[in-house]
Structure formats: C-alpha cells, structure tokens
Symmetry: C2
Subunit: 174 residues, 2 copies
Amino acid sequence: MQLLEYTANALKEELHQVGFRMTTQRREILDFFLNLPEGEHLSAQEVHQRTMAQGSRASLSTIYRCLKLMARLGLLRELEFPNKEHYYELNREFCLNAIPEDVLREAEASEQLLPASHHHHLVCVRTNEIREFRNDQVCKTARKIAEKYGYKVLDCQFTIIGVSPEGQLLPQLT
Amino acid sequence: MQLLEYTANALKEELHQVGFRMTTQRREILDFFLNLPEGEHLSAQEVHQRTMAQGSRASLSTIYRCLKLMARLGLLRELEFPNKEHYYELNREFCLNAIPEDVLREAEASEQLLPASHHHHLVCVRTNEIREFRNDQVCKTARKIAEKYGYKVLDCQFTIIGVSPEGQLLPQLT
DNA sequence: ATGCGTGCAAAGTCTTTGCAGCTTC
DNA sequence: GAAGCTGCAAAGACTTTGCACGCAT
C-alpha cells in the first residue's frame, strides 16, 4: 500500500466515526492536498480553481464544506492571517499518525513526508509578505499546554506579526 | 501625567511619523481599548456598538479604518480564529513601551498594566470555546526568530487548535 | 432503501470604497 | 490652505444555506 493511502484510510475512518461518508469530491480534495508541494497555503477559492483545473467537478460550495470539515477532523490546517481569507494546507502530522509505526520505520520513503512537518509564519503588516520558519520547540510547548487543559491537539500555529526589513524601508503605510 | 496618556502620545507620534493625524474618533477608539478589561477581544462591529453606547459618533467605516490602522502601528493585536471575523484587543506591550523607563519603575501603579501583558489562545473546533493561557517563553522565542530575519516584532500569536474536554464528549460534529 | 452529500442559485455577513464636506496640521 | 479623515450609502468579497436530486452505505 502506498504511504499516502494510509491518510485516505484514516480520513475515511474519521468520517465514518462521526457518521459521515467518503465521497468522490472529498477524495479529490484530499488527493489534491496530498500532492501539493509543502509550503503552499490556499484559499477555498484557489483550491476550487486548481481542483477544477485537474478535472474535478466539485463545486465551490462543496469545497467550502469539505475544507471546513477536514479542518475540524484535523486533516487540514486552517490558517488565518491579517487579511480576510482563510487558508488551508495539509496537516502533515495527521498523515504521519495514519501510518503504522513499523511501516514508517522501514519505509525510508517516509522522508517524503516527515522532514518538515510543521512550520509557522512571520507576517509583515506593511508588505503582507508571509515567511515561513520552523521551530521544533513550538509543537512540544503546545502539547504540554494542551495536556494541562485536557485538550486534544489538532494543530498549533505560531504567528509573528511585525515589519520586515523591506517594510521598514517603505515611507508610507498604505 | 497619567500613565495611559503616554500611550495616547505614543500613538500620536506614530501617526505623525507616517503622515497621519490624531482625530477625535481615533482618540475615542484608543480610550475605549485602554479602558477595556483585559481578555476581551472584540470584532469591529462590537467595537462600534460599544463605542456608540459610550457616546462616540464614530461610524462603522471609521471603526474599520481605524482598527486596521492601529493594528498596523502595533497598538492593537488583530486576532484571527477559525471563524470569519477579526478580533481586536489592546497590545499591552505597545503601552508599556510608551512609558519612560524611570516613570515605569517608580510608579508602582504600573501594576495596572504590567501583570498580564501577553496571552495566547486555545481554540476548540467543536465547541468554538476560546480559552486563554500565558506563557512567557513564547514572546521570547518570537523575538529571537524575528531578529534572525531582521523583523521588528509588533505582536506574536500562539494558537493551539484542538478539541476541548467538553468537545470530546459531543457525539456529533455539527 | 435511507439519509448524507452535492450543485446551483440566492442570501448573508463582514469589509471596503467613492465622494462631498469637515478637520487637523 | 492643503492634505488627511469621516459619514453615508453603495459596492465588493468571501462564505453560507435551502432545496431537489444523486450517491454511499
């Protein structure tokens, strides 16, 4: 079985657990995210355009509905920045958890997913540039805090808002 | 001079620095936030209702314009949660920075502002409950990372998304 | 066969914008 | 006085929803 297939199965299970179903559209959206290069975060509308381009016939409403659902199941990360839209990206931790320990260990191919699991964002309020960074400590801290409150962690987001070097050079705000 | 007055001056200075002006409405909005108990984060519409109730005549458009401006200046924190609206709250670090060192030290009254400067959020995707927590390490980490990239930090937000103990008991997702 | 899921179009909500008049520097 | 700011109303953008039909279980 392909590694990515484990994620599909895990999603199907999660869905069934709450009385929902796996459908063509949901599968297409899942596959779309699984094949998306890491580091891209897309809005619902962008997801729609791109899946359409790949031949999916899922409507915009369905995209909205599915993205929200998948985010609630922990499969996607729903990101919010100083800006009106919501962005989505694959929550690679979900995928990793779906793969059995032994398979993960033996398949060196897992490097495909593993290496950069979680990243965070540095946002510039002047240029609107969004830069990513990694920090291993962040998720650990999140887990510790969540545990204290009895929460089950789906995702953690660390966002630093500030002014980038380029932004500092701009004379005007708008 | 009252401690809060330093913030007003700092805001005025920041505004002038970028060619903007201090107006009645901006002052009213500032005062509103300065007098808001900590821990409340309000949407633009809520700010509008409440300032109206306090006698301000600032229109909703002005509220939108001012909130965004103040967030970009670092006076307000603009928070985003899995939900359509943006929420605003005072960035207490801005206020603290506005007060001269010596005044801050000698005025024990500063305890009014100091104690709980920065907090972060734990969001439940099932109940939509938002719980706050504090963690001193977070801001330090943010500063370190920002420095590495040459960013000037205005705010940092650490958001943990998961399922609360109560949420875990719910049988259904929606 | 049951009932969740989808597409479509319409409706909703939050946010932005053009413009004339007013205010701040 | 010039340039920024505000209010109002209209427009815009993103997201949600009602309903009838289709599809997964």
